[in-house]
Assembly symmetry: C2
């Protein structure tokens, strides 16, 4: 899907505790740093739909498992991220997104956003407003 990039991330194992890459300035998908924050989504809950008009999202799931569904006004695309499918999901402005907590453990993502939070640059819709079977 145009405007969506999935990038596999590496892990450096260490007996004292491992390192998990998230994002470098030189990585594909990096368009500036505005803000980083964590978001959790409880088991079975769905957050969405939301579309950003300016922000590029860079999403990394650091615990649990989260299903992301993206909609570009033509098609839906879905991907599940977790420690066992450890990837960064880049979502450019203009794409509708929703996400669902899949694990009964804590489902948590990091968003490295290209701009600071600004409620005026995002649009929300109710879950029932797009015909997607979660």
């Amino acid at each position: 899907m145009d405007g969506v990039i999935v990038t596999s991330l590496s892990t450096i194992d260490n007996p004292k505790g491992s390192i998990y890459h998230a994002m470098k300035e030189s990585d594909v998908g990096y368009t500036g740093f505005g803000e980083a924050y964590f978001s959790t989504v409880s088991y079975g809950e769905i957050k969405g739909w939301k579309k950003h008009t300016e922000m590029t999202l860079n999403l990394i799931v650091i615990s649990g498992e989260i299903e992301f569904v993206l909609y570009d006004l033509n098609d839906f695309m879905s991907i599940r991220l977790s420690n066992s499918n450890y990837c960064r999901l880049t979502v450019k402005p203009g794409i509708w997104m929703g996400f669902k907590g899949i694990s009964t453990d804590r489902n948590m993502l990091l968003n490295i956003a290209s701009i600071e939070h600004n409620p005026n640059e995002s649009v929300n819709m109710g879950l029932e407003e797009l015909p997607y079977e979660w």
Copy 2:
């Protein structure tokens, strides 16, 4: 301690899953984005000592509890971060740091670093090389 900033972070509670702030471009301690990565430290293990000569670290503990010990060649300073003491720890170049896993659950930090990883800008010492009682 000069070169160390502790900033309390806010959480936005939501029944579907909460938001945890980490860092904004406009925040105290932000001096540029080079890389973001996660590091874990097992229960009872200590990673250290390490000193960066160029990188500013911005450390957020997102699960478990981690004790950070800092040394500026004069004094030691220690702080424990966790979800119940949810703060960002900014460490400027020139400060020695070690950290220990305190929780038996997963102890994990996010580092929002001002430059990309470069092994030539950091210095390591053995744990026994500084007289600190962990």
